[in-house]
């Protein structure tokens, strides 16, 4: 039941996206988040869609798998869609229930915002699907390095992030294990009234917290035992390489942004 969460999951592969420099991918995502907000008509959303699908195809991650990963956010997408339909009162009335009028502007707005969400989730999950957590952290550390001057503990941030990313699958596994143990003792997590269901999570959360603290302690000990003492003077086993492909990908994104700026509805 927890198998569907694909955020933080890495799928090994040899596609162009896998081979890209993590810094390029991170910058790319950062730019893409702004680019998504440039789209405001059917054409520009269409172009973005083509771009997103092309990126998925390039990554060689199966479409079916991506779709499964989207499932958990469908609720949010549908909720946003309905909210927009009900709240936006622009354009012509396309449906009239008397007390409820649906405007075509609302439908359009709903579709756009939902698409925006889907694009964002698709493209950002591509980052973790094609980049190992270690690469992501290395990339982030490089990109954030300038902030060290203002005493930002960049290395510590990066470390914290890589640890959390590393432990997402472990935690999921642990959750599933404890869930099974409690289900074997007759606990129900998926049925019954909401109040009961919230109470049913206590036997799951308490053991999870306890094992997480224990794991954190073990990890700290293991790191100290191996002489870890922070980022000062630490060299790297694997050095990141920025290639043509990375410059190319970023240029492509900028071109996309330029195209969207030209084609978007102004005014």
């Amino acid at each position: 039941m927890l198998d569907n969460v694909i955020i933080g999951q890495y799928i090994p592969g040899t596609s162009v996206l896998h081979k890209m420099d993590p810094r390029a991918k991170l910058l790319g995502i950062f730019v893409f988040i702004f680019v998504v907000f440039l789209a405001n008509n059917w054409l520009t959303y269409g172009i973005l869609g083509v771009f997103a699908v092309a990126a998925i195809l390039l990554s060689q991650v199966s479409l079916r798998y991506m779709y499964k990963g989207l499932k958990p956010i469908f609720f949010i997408v549908i909720f946003t869609f309905i909210l927009h339909i009900l709240m936006t009162k622009q354009g012509e009335v396309v449906y009239d229930l008397g007390w409820l009028k649906i405007y075509n502007g609302g439908v359009k707005q709903g579709v756009f915002i939902s698409l925006r969400l889907v694009y964002l989730v698709l493209v950002t999950s591509l980052l973790t699907l094609t980049t190992t957590p270690i690469d992501i952290t290395d990339g982030l550390e490089y990109l954030l390095a300038p902030f060290k001057r203002v005493k930002l503990p960049v290395h510590e941030f990066a470390l914290m992030m890589s640890i959390s990313l590393r432990f997402i699958p472990t935690l999921l596994q642990e959750t599933e294990k404890i869930m099974k143990a409690q289900m074997a003792r007759g606990a129900e997590f998926t049925a019954g009234p909401v109040k009961e269901r919230i109470k049913a999570f206590v036997p799951l959360l308490v053991p999870l917290f306890i094992s997480s603290f224990k794991r954190a302690e073990d990890l700290a000990l293991a790191m100290e035992a191996r002489g870890y003492r922070g980022g000062e003077g630490r060299t790297r086993l694997r050095v990141l390489h920025w290639g043509f492909r990375d410059t190319g990908a970023l240029l492509l994104l900028l071109i996309l942004a330029a195209v969207l700026i030209v084609l978007r509805t102004h005014g």
Partner: protein, 290 residues
């Protein structure tokens, strides 16, 4: 309670790049009152198999029948609770499942989930805590103040308190000291005999399998590889070695003995005492005792 498994196949994460066939066409029947040991290499499908027996995993294909309940691929949910009441599982490191404020409440969790009254559950908690060899005083303590071994016992008591007809043990003694291992295993065997239960023990210890079980199932790559009484299974050393297992130490010893002395000995000795007896025959009337 008779258990019958037929054509059971299980795929993990079906439809993802991580899909893996964990069980392939497993058919097996376990008659009521059997103490079955399941052995096999890591990843041979032992744990997957036992999780089907109380509906924690659903078969991709095939059926599982426990008593008069049948679980099939895509079956109904209603039956699961009834099944879970009959089949108790002690997972690996069961102390990880403890959560409540006091040991008593934690042990009562199972029985109360299955609809027992508070008094009945409390009585069961008291009985089981004594049964697993802990003093009654621990009932009012927090489970997290206990030692690792005690926590293990509390968790086991929590499963026993549901009074299952079928008890499944997934490496219940992993990480315990030798004395704790023996005490816990002896407890399970005694319970099995006294309460007329069906017990399924998943273990990596050939010694435990030989000593405690009536029957042994060897799993390999998600299929059943060998099945039979301990004496039959451990007579097939080559076959076991082919899948990364071996015979118990007592049998290894006897085989070496036989090799050195050239005299055949009785091989189905799985305790130190029996092994000593088997070889003492070689000494004839000479005063060899132990």
């Amino acid at each position: 309670m008779d258990i019958k498994i037929s054509g059971l196949t299980h795929r993990y994460k079906a439809g993802t790049p991580f899909e893996r066939l964990a069980l392939h066409d497993v058919s097996l029947s376990i008659s009521s009152g059997t103490f079955l040991a399941v052995i096999g290499h890591t990843g041979s499908g032992k744990s997957t198999l036992i999780q089907h027996l109380n509906g924690l995993l659903k078969p991709s294909e095939g059926t599982i029948t426990v008593g008069d309940l049948t679980i099939a691929a895509g079956g109904k949910k209603k039956q699961l609770k009834a099944l879970r009441k009959r089949v108790g599982i002690v997972f690996q490191y069961p102390e990880h499942q403890l959560f409540d404020e006091t040991v008593e409440k934690d042990v009562m969790f199972g029985p109360m989930n299955f609809g027992q009254s508070e008094e009945a559950a409390r009585a069961a908690a008291h009985e089981m805590i004594k049964l697993v060899g802990l003093p009654v005083e621990v009932l009012q303590k927090s489970p997290f103040d206990l030692s690792g071994g005690q926590m293990r016992r509390v968790a086991i008591a929590g499963v026993l308190a549901m009074e299952p007809d079928v008890l499944i043990l997934d490496e219940p003694t992993a990480g315990l000291d030798p004395r704790g291992r023996k005490e816990i295993m002896d407890l399970f065997r005694t319970l099995h005999d006294q309460r007329n239960m069906t017990t399924i023990l998943v273990t990596h210890s050939m010694e435990d399998a030989a000593y405690y079980a009536d029957r042994i199932l060897v799993m390999e790559k998600g299929s059943t590889y060998l099945e039979g009484a301990p004496a039959e299974i451990f007579a097939k050393r080559e076959e076991l070695q082919a899948v990364g297992l071996d015979v118990p130490e007592t049998v290894q010893f006897l085989l070496r003995w036989q090799e050195k002395t050239g005299k055949p000995v009785q091989m189905s000795s799985f305790t130190i005492e029996d092994t000593a007896k088997a070889i003492s025959a070689d000494f004839g009337k000479g005063g060899f005792t132990c």
